[in-house]
Symmetry: C3
Subunit: 117 residues, 3 copies
């Protein structure tokens, strides 16, 4: 079975949810995999992966607002090396995913209609 490793670098401008679906799907489609498994691993501890709808931008805004309320910056955390949003970023990462493995069929990740990464 063919196995390929690829590093994808994503630039961000601070806190937020960033859609990487098209970049990931483009890479998979450029491979010669018909059926297989795409594993995405986030090599950070204050950033993470999640799958959600991105058709209605309100979903992304509501989800970000929920996470800010759930993990506020003034929650008395001791780890603040990189500012008040440092530890909340670690906690949000722990509550979401560091890894996703997506089945690939016909050369494409088999995401549902509304799923974005």
């Amino acid at each position: 079975m063919e196995q390929a490793l690829h590093r994808l670098t994503v630039a961000t401008d601070g806190q937020g949810l960033f859609d990487v679906t098209s970049r990931i799907c483009q890479w998979v489609e450029a491979q010669t995999i018909a059926t297989g498994l795409l594993t995405i691993w986030c090599r950070h501890t204050s950033a993470s992966l999640l799958v959600q709808e991105n058709a209605d931008p309100d979903v992304r805004a509501d989800l970000a607002a929920f996470l800010r309320r759930l993990v506020p910056e003034n929650a008395g955390c001791r780890h603040r090396d990189e500012g008040p949003d440092d530890m909340p970023a670690h906690i949000k990462a722990a509550l979401t995913q560091t890894q996703l493995s997506i089945p690939v069929g016909n050369g494409r990740p088999l995401l549902g209609t509304w799923q974005a990464i």
Copy 2:
């Protein structure tokens, strides 16, 4: 290595936790895989996967009650296309899993004694 894709459709009657362990295990046992990896991908953004005990039904009830308190329907979300439970369902999905990869040995998913999907 043999690779097989299979689509499992699960009917639900609204919010809740639904045990799909036996349906998943039956499919795996019908394959000719001795040792391998079963990857389950949920193709939705308002439904998700999780592994929990289902021997004592109180665990499932307590977990559902916790998630309803954590993500109440009146939390001021803007995305309500499908009603007040629309955005809470997305958030609960984001906090649980979209994907599970379970080692398979002796032709069966190697779940722990108390684990249900």
Copy 3:
């Protein structure tokens, strides 16, 4: 493709976050895998897996404190077979991960600089 199953037993002394990175990496490095995928499955429903920073011990302490506040022991849960920390342990497991699949390159899990399991 080579496939190996291995059972790792981790002793704990009650609630907490336990670093298993070195034990896991040592096992992988003892295999003859150059490029591949390491899947870790936790066979419990009141213990789980997560990836976080463990360089500054405050991160682990802050994360444990956050989870205790989010899922307090007096939250009125019915499932208390093994005491007041029984159901909170199940809920914390549901909010984190039961499984991790980590890409392996050059015979080692490709964890980021600050990532610990």
